[in-house]
Symmetry: C2
Subunit: 466 residues, 2 copies
Amino acid sequence: LDNFLDALGPERVITAPGDTAPFCVDWTGRFRGATPAVLRPGTTEQVAAVVALCRHHGLALTPQGGNTGLVGGSVPLAGEIVLSLRDLDRLAPVDDVSGQVTVGAGASLAAVQGAATAAGWAYGVDFASRDRATIGGTIATNAGGLRVLRYGDTRAQVVAVEAVLGDGSIVSHLGGPTKDNTGYHLPSLLCGSEGTLGIVTATRLRLVPAASERATALLAFDSVERAVAAAGDLRRHVPTLEAAELMLAAGIGLVCRVTDRPPPPGPSAAAFLLVEAGDRLSPAAELAAGIEALTGVVHVTPVATDPVPAAALWRYREDHPAAVNTLGPPHKFDVSLPGDGLAAFVDEAPGIVAAVAPGATTWMWAHAVDGNVHVNVTGLAPDDDRVGDTLLRSVAARRGSISGEHGIGTAKRAWLHLNRTLAEIDAFRALKRALDPDGILNPNVLLPPPTAAPPLTTGTVRGVSG
Amino acid sequence: LDNFLDALGPERVITAPGDTAPFCVDWTGRFRGATPAVLRPGTTEQVAAVVALCRHHGLALTPQGGNTGLVGGSVPLAGEIVLSLRDLDRLAPVDDVSGQVTVGAGASLAAVQGAATAAGWAYGVDFASRDRATIGGTIATNAGGLRVLRYGDTRAQVVAVEAVLGDGSIVSHLGGPTKDNTGYHLPSLLCGSEGTLGIVTATRLRLVPAASERATALLAFDSVERAVAAAGDLRRHVPTLEAAELMLAAGIGLVCRVTDRPPPPGPSAAAFLLVEAGDRLSPAAELAAGIEALTGVVHVTPVATDPVPAAALWRYREDHPAAVNTLGPPHKFDVSLPGDGLAAFVDEAPGIVAAVAPGATTWMWAHAVDGNVHVNVTGLAPDDDRVGDTLLRSVAARRGSISGEHGIGTAKRAWLHLNRTLAEIDAFRALKRALDPDGILNPNVLLPPPTAAPPLTTGTVRGVSG
């Protein structure tokens, strides 16, 4: 501890249990741990000093950003030291010529979006916890969100990183040009590595041209299958499509009850798509032409080009999580299916859940084009993991991914073998040893325990979430 | 050799010098080597068998695709065994729902583009050697090209790979969904690794919505600086911009002389931008509005929406390499500059070259938005590398990259330290050891020799190209 105090100064070393407590629990309250110390370095060099000390003393570190994950990847569940990156929140001016910006790992997603917008650009990643999530956290988890279908995931935005590797060395390549093929691409490797290979302290992000006009509409369908098919068609025929969010009648009904809002206009329908296009000139015409060509649409709202009616449509989608939370803490599962498997899974998931938990209720919403569905189950005891085990196995059996957006964390590491072969996991372990030779960086995250048996199929396993 | 014959059968093992010769020289004729055998496996399992045999016997392998690189990365310069992937040219049907396609490493870029187009999609990467370059080669080098500014480089297209790692193991993850955060992203790590970590045998690529309408124009400017600034402005204000190719008066003049074609319409000018937008509805209006807002434009051709006049404009750009080749084999350098450095470098490069080679002539064209310039120098002896050394040092001093598109290969490995710190190169070596523990995969490519001294600054060094 004295070593950390020497390296960082007293104001950057937090040890009082009352002060460390907020760093020991995730935002859902599901994952709760304990730590001897929370370290808040203010520079990359201080991060390197911390890693060197931990390596010397054999101490495990859990890096932490905004702590908005869902898989227990950023909380000290095994008593790790917490390394909070939030103070590394520098925002450099936007580089207008290259359309890029250099930011610290602790800057919030919203701050980066704001800086981009102020400079006449946009940042390609967006999701609901934008005010709290840090850019470092979005890189560690390769965050997705609402606009992946147009701009790609976080990995597609990361031009360069500065990072401290597990051996304590600093690798920094922030000054480079757009096109740069000089060696292995560490930014892509660190992106999605969940703090297990290195600690990103700063990054250079690509920005995208800002869409000055937007067009938004809500489409209704008789079936999930038709809605998913329409999302695919629309994406293919409207290059400026930015979002295609799938909602179900039950979820819309719950949102309307909880928020005391009228149902969407039009006849009752089984499934809804909230779609949005963005461009400089004529996104409304582009979106309208795309919708015109669809089949199976029961009802379409007028295409909204003003922010006020567009925001009213978005609230149907954005109020889903809060509406479900009013029923008690849900079990949350973030999974993705191959394109042709999303509709069938959404139709069958309630039955899959009911088979192991008859009293539970299943709520879902999805990024339709990405095949990425957020499954929320209410009416379960907090420690009842039978549903999670069953759902993840069902997803894997359909060639889907047990993690669409949030990573593996601690919650899903025992299930990684459902998606990955032993050869792949061996390659992951070799990469881990290469960059973190003493295994001090988030050692209980992502990779399965070396001796792990395959998880059981009944309720004795813990922590499946997402 | 008998082992290879047993593993592959006689038709897949080429040993006669006359038959191996075409595999021992790159397409420019600059890099020439020799090999005891060219192996042409037909399956991933055969690739794995070859790697296992090479590992067992301590033999070095050079993977080879279409052999269209410029840095000597795919020819057996040190007597390596050549592993040609061209027979792995399977093309699966396009997956219309997810907008993805699975292809073998040996499929040509043109074949993938054609399959995408036939299915109503497009592939985001395009460049001149599309008929001969293989997809595996584009992944190994993270190929860029004409449309990076809209769709990103090859790394942004690679959803998944099947590959044989240096330890002989097969990692395969081709069936997955679009969003998949289950472990370290091997596709991104292998992309740009130049065959030194693993051998990609198949890949799953994302496709992009096809632009059914295109709009093309040629803009003239009084200075390179104004042309580069206009390219940046246009990119920012025309989200559907797909290309912004910079050309210079001298290059245009040479092309017109060699091809006996009239000069572009309008007054004489110092620099030209060939710009193209693609969309479903109104790219011509989008491009025209973007051009209208530019300053410093001397002349604009009518915006072409028909393929015939558009192709006539593109020929000014596409005939540049052949026109330069009529002056004798050029030294080719592919480098990139930060956004604000491209114009100054283009203005100063002829002087930098003339200072060390007074009789040489410098020709340049560039992907303007990416800061990526192709420098061609004619009038040099084939083995005169003073110009290369000087140019690469100049680029690095301007915070540019010594490789924009083609990688490091053998040609630039002694210069890698200009762009990369010792800590970064150490991390690269650790990754190399992790996935290729015996160092059998392209051992003379990308990483500098462990004992390399910094390169000399005068003409005793060899092989700088790109």
